[in-house]
């Protein structure tokens, strides 16, 4: 009898990099989209059982740490997410994603006649509230919630 190698999915710990967990289940793939980079090694878990979120997801990225802009983007769509920094297989820091008071160039203003949709200039939003999300355009002063959100 030929012995077949045992088939199993390995979700290994990463040596160095970032683990984003506590992502609401349905948002996980959007987070992947924000972070995707053709050269990165990523491990993704979706729809895992969670007491607080019902279903949650995680994303592990080897040898990469998030920029401020990436963290803000994740905070906009997944405010419950936590970012773990892994160095030498150990979690060296764990923090909740957070939004700065002002975000620049990452969200499109949903007002078609806003100057940011007419001239070549980055959008700027003041964050009035993180949960539920409320942003005000620094230019046209329109407010937006999560349902109007279009990430750039």
């Amino acid at each position: 009898m030929n012995s077949q190698p045992k088939k199993e999915l390995s979700v290994n710990a990463i040596e160095n990099g970032t683990v984003i967990d506590h992502i609401p289940g349905e948002i996980t793939l959007k987070v992947v989209e924000i972070l995707s980079n053709p050269d990165d090694v990523m491990t993704i878990g979706v729809n895992l059982p969670s007491k607080s979120l019902n279903k949650k997801g995680f994303v592990k990225i080897s040898n990469r740490f998030l920029t401020k802009e990436e963290t803000s983007k994740i905070a906009l769509i997944a405010p419950t997410a936590k970012v773990n920094i892994v160095k030498d297989y150990k979690i060296t820091s764990k923090s909740q994603v957070f939004l700065p008071d002002q975000i620049k160039g990452i969200v499109k203003c949903n007002n078609p006649i806003c100057i940011t949709n007419k001239e070549i200039t980055p959008s700027v939003f003041d964050v009035l509230k993180a949960l539920p999300l409320k942003l005000r355009c620094h230019y046209c002063e329109r407010t937006m919630g999560s349902k109007d959100l279009h990430l750039l």
Partner: protein, 311 residues
Amino acid sequence: MLDFQNKHIVSIREFTKEGLLKIISLAEKMAEKPPQDLLKGKILGTLFFEPSTRTRLSFESAMSRLGGSVVGFADPKSTSTQKGETLDDTIRMINGYADAIVMRHPVEGAARFASEHSSIPVINAGDGANQHPTQTLLDLYSIEKTQEKILSEGKKTLKIGMIGDLKYGRTVHSLTIALSMFKCEFYFIAPKILRMPDDYLHVATDAGCKIHQMENIEPVIPELDILYSTRIQAERFFDINEYNMVKNAYVLKADLFKNVKNNFKILHPLPRIEEIDRGVDSLPYAYYFQQAANGIPVRQAILALVLGAIK
């Protein structure tokens, strides 16, 4: 904001109560005796990318009466914008020609954008449906003037009704933000589909102001110190019959004002179309034409402050 020298006037949200009162107080002095040579040698650039009658003429008149001069355009078709020049390039160019800029532009946020590319003060004279801060300042000045210094003294609560299109009306939004800094009770009178948006209701209630929302004006008229009327625009309605019904329900006629307070005044940003019957014009409560004239001392005060002629 209290020191206005070389500052941009873009949005009413940036003002403090003290800043608003400073402009109102200076406007009172300007109305009494405008210093004729105060802005001699200064040049105001007026950039009107959209038509305007009152605002443009009152800025030009305010500047001329203080001894300053004006360059600019009232029709963007005659400018290099038509050749594809970007707004920031136009602003940089005007920076070399003038000491301050007054700009009206159909694009929302254009004034903020312009201010970020300008080393001379930019005064927003209307950016689409967003902000028109000098209109709000002249509204406040008109209230202060007709209501025995109610804003600066801060003893009495101003009872103001706002009627008409409260959903899309730029003037009533800005006025709500500004008046929420003072003792004020608001009566928002509008058909359901044109009610004041929640954002502005919250500005008032968060500041501790009482608010009332209603569709019928008659019961509240005896309560009011000020009634601020705005135009209901046909293009806001999907159904023209609905518009006709609403439009007629919000026409102010003389017989509505039989039982009003002695200090009662009707304000309107103009142009008035049908929402105030001509029969109201001769009543002692009609203040809207004087309100438009108040644009001169208010704009003189703003120009004098941003150009540093008065600290």
